[in-house]
């Protein structure tokens, strides 16, 4: 059907791209994760599992990984808790204001991540908007210090940033539900609440799974929010990786942690995709 030359032209560039910019770096990282750093700060190309042992045995690493997962899980739950009702309202009840409200949800995505993270810094800081307000209305007499440089600040910021990412797939799933199914449910005697739980929610599950995966995976790998707003207690696994590749100059350990995260994320994606397939019926 297509000439050999045409097939070459369309297949080779993407293959090259994937090889050079994805496969080779991953392979390098894979190799690094089995090497070590000598006392004189040079990389020793001898094969060992020491880095993975470190990862499992030194509490700082696995505890930070668990803490990062806990942060990601909270961001996921809060984003769903905000994104789902918003998507549901827009899809079913917004009427003529739908397009306008949709844009309102999307527009923050155009604003730089960094700007939004800094915005929270000015809101949550000890001289920030929130603390000033709370003291002004005499809710508190001292600035609340848990607001900034804490896991709370990280979860709050990431939730703000990733809620549109959960909103979008849920909204798309809800928009795809034929409205005559909702009518059929009412027609068969189901109240609006019964209709939601028996028809609308089950049919929106693929969107919920996609949104949850976005929020969890993106927050798990985040390093800007914790480094800007997390403080010492809000450090996440990516901050450790960044420092291992930077100041600490331990690329092998950094590579091992990165690979462990990659495996974790890919398995999550596989599970989520399986579940999404199971719950889609078109």
């Amino acid at each position: 059907m297509f000439s050999r030359a045409y097939k070459m032209v369309v297949t080779v560039p993407p293959l090259l791209w994937v090889t050079i910019f994805l496969l080779v770096p991953y392979l390098l990282m894979f190799c690094y994760s089995f090497w070590t750093v000598s006392a004189s700060q040079t990389i020793v190309h001898s094969w060992t599992f020491d880095n993975y042992k470190d990862l499992l045995q030194k509490p700082v690493y696995w505890q930070t990984l668990l803490r990062s997962m806990w942060v990601a899980a909270r961001v996921m739950l809060f984003s769903l808790a905000l994104g789902y009702p918003l998507a549901y309202f827009l899809s079913f009840y917004a009427g003529a204001r739908k397009d306008w409200l949709y844009q309102m949800v999307i527009i923050p995505l155009w604003v730089s991540y960094l700007v939004r993270a800094y915005a929270w810094k000015t809101i949550l800081g000890s001289d920030g908007v929130l603390n000033t307000l709370l003291q002004y209305v005499h809710v508190t007499h001292h600035p609340l210090d848990f607001l900034l440089y804490s896991p709370f600040a990280v979860v709050l910021t990431l939730t703000h940033i990733y809620t549109p990412f959960t909103f979008l797939p849920i909204y798309a799933a809800l928009e795809h539900i034929p409205r005559n199914l909702v009518e059929a449910s009412h027609d068969l005697g189901a109240t609006p609440a019964q209709t939601f739980w028996k028809v609308i929610f089950p049919l929106s599950i693929p969107g919920v799974l996609a949104g949850a995966t976005f929020a969890f995976v993106l927050s798990l790998g985040d390093f800007l929010a914790p480094s800007l707003l997390g403080g010492p207690s809000g450090i996440m696994i990516s901050n450790i990786v960044v420092s291992l590749f930077g100041a600490a100059y331990n690329w092998p350990l950094g590579a091992a942690i990165s690979l462990a995260m990659l495996v974790l994320v890919v398995s999550l994606l596989v599970v989520s995709e399986r579940l999404e397939k199971k719950w889609s019926f078109s």
């Binding site: 005559n180 009518e183 027609d187 068969l188």
Partner: protein
């Protein structure tokens, strides 16, 4: 019944022998400035098969959706016995709907779809199981109970949709062009099955269609809608043989519309004339093609000498278009293959020329 204003509705009430199950009183509906229904009143009797017939845009589906509760009438009332229906949400009405595209829940099996109404009504498990099994058996879908809707054919989905509605034993079943997605053969078969099922369960059906043949085959009565107004409501036989308006005569079957002038008991149309005991003035007559016969010299018949323009073969009969000497064009339905010549003598009985009201111009 004082609120029944249109003559069509009054006629319907006399022809409905059983007590009214649902009465639709002066229902109107507009979407913005666009009036979709205007002052529609009609009554549906217990156990009746009523068809709402109309072209697309006639408001037939809107009327059905108002009965189901998916739309609110702009004005007018719905009464089911002593209960005001239009103020109830759809889930409190004892009315079920078979949707045009069936609207089966894709995440539920055939069995779960049929059991949905009973489950949300929190009927005991054993009862749900028994009634679902009965309903599936009635529509011959028991073998497919465990399948998802995506795994069954259109005809099967249609049966499931029917079972899902009937299993709740509604007082009234609404059907929104349920056969339009099926191919011609299956459609004819389903028409017969649906009609016999309706007799068997004894539930009143309100069936919406744009297909006049379908309406004729299935209905006890036909309500003909035109641009949101009720044009005529009558039995298929009545509406065919005594159409109230020119539109009704043309929409249901073929007809010849004769623009005649009545004076002193004689109707004149071109060179034709026949006795008609009507008030003087211009009158429109509907004359069915099958009532225009090859002349046999029956006494009192109106004779027409005409030239054949063309013939359309319809199996047992053919529709012959002829032109009379004065330019009047008539269509006659005669046995196939009976005319070979160019010119023809035809006749019709004056009794078959039915006076009809001119349909008002509407958009």
């Amino acid at each position: 019944m004082a609120s029944l204003t249109s003559p069509a509705a009054a006629e319907s009430f006399t022809s409905a022998s059983k007590p009214a199950l649902l009465s639709i009183r002066n229902v109107a509906k507009s979407f913005g400035k666009n009036a979709v229904l205007r002052d529609v009143s009609l009554e549906i009797a217990e156990g009746e098969f009523l068809t709402i017939l109309g072209e697309s845009g006639s408001g037939k589906t809107t009327l059905l959706r108002i009965i189901a509760g998916f739309e609110q009438a702009t004005s007018g009332e719905l009464w089911m016995g002593a209960e005001r229906l239009d103020q109830q949400p759809p889930y409190r009405r004892r009315v079920n709907t078979v949707f045009q595209s069936y609207a089966l829940f894709p995440h539920l099996t055939v069995e779960q779809n049929v059991g949905y109404g009973l489950r949300v009504a929190r009927r005991p498990d054993a009862e749900v199981k028994r009634r679902v099994a009965e309903a599936l058996d009635k529509v011959k879908m028991s073998a497919h109970a465990a399948k998802k809707p995506s795994k069954i054919s259109g005809g099967q989905a249609q049966r499931v949709a029917l079972a899902r509605a009937l299993v709740n034993r509604p007082q009234l079943l609404l059907l929104d062009e349920p056969l339009s997605a099926l191919d011609a053969n299956l459609r004819r078969q389903m028409q017969v099955e649906l009609k016999s099922l309706q007799r068997e369960v004894g539930i009143a059906f309100v069936f919406v269609t744009h297909d006049q043949e379908e309406a004729m085959v299935m209905s006890d009565r036909i309500a003909l809608l035109r641009s949101g107004e009720l044009e005529q409501i009558a039995t298929p036989r009545e509406i065919y043989s005594r159409p109230a308006t020119a539109y009704a005569a043309q929409f249901i079957g073929h007809t010849n519309l004769l623009k005649a002038d009545v004076s002193a008991g004689i109707a004149r149309c071109g060179s034709l004339s026949w006795p008609a005991s009507l008030a003087d003035g211009p009158t429109l007559f509907s004359l069915r093609p099958e009532h225009v016969r090859i002349a046999a010299g029956i006494s009192g018949a109106v004779r027409v000498h005409a030239r054949i323009l063309n013939k359309a073969f319809h199996g047992g009969t053919e529709l012959v278009r002829v032109e009379c000497a004065d330019g009047l064009i008539l269509t006659a339905r005669i046995a196939a293959g009976t005319v070979a010549q160019r010119e023809i003598e035809l006749e019709f009985s004056p009794a078959d020329a039915v006076p009809v009201r001119e349909s008002s111009e509407r958009n």
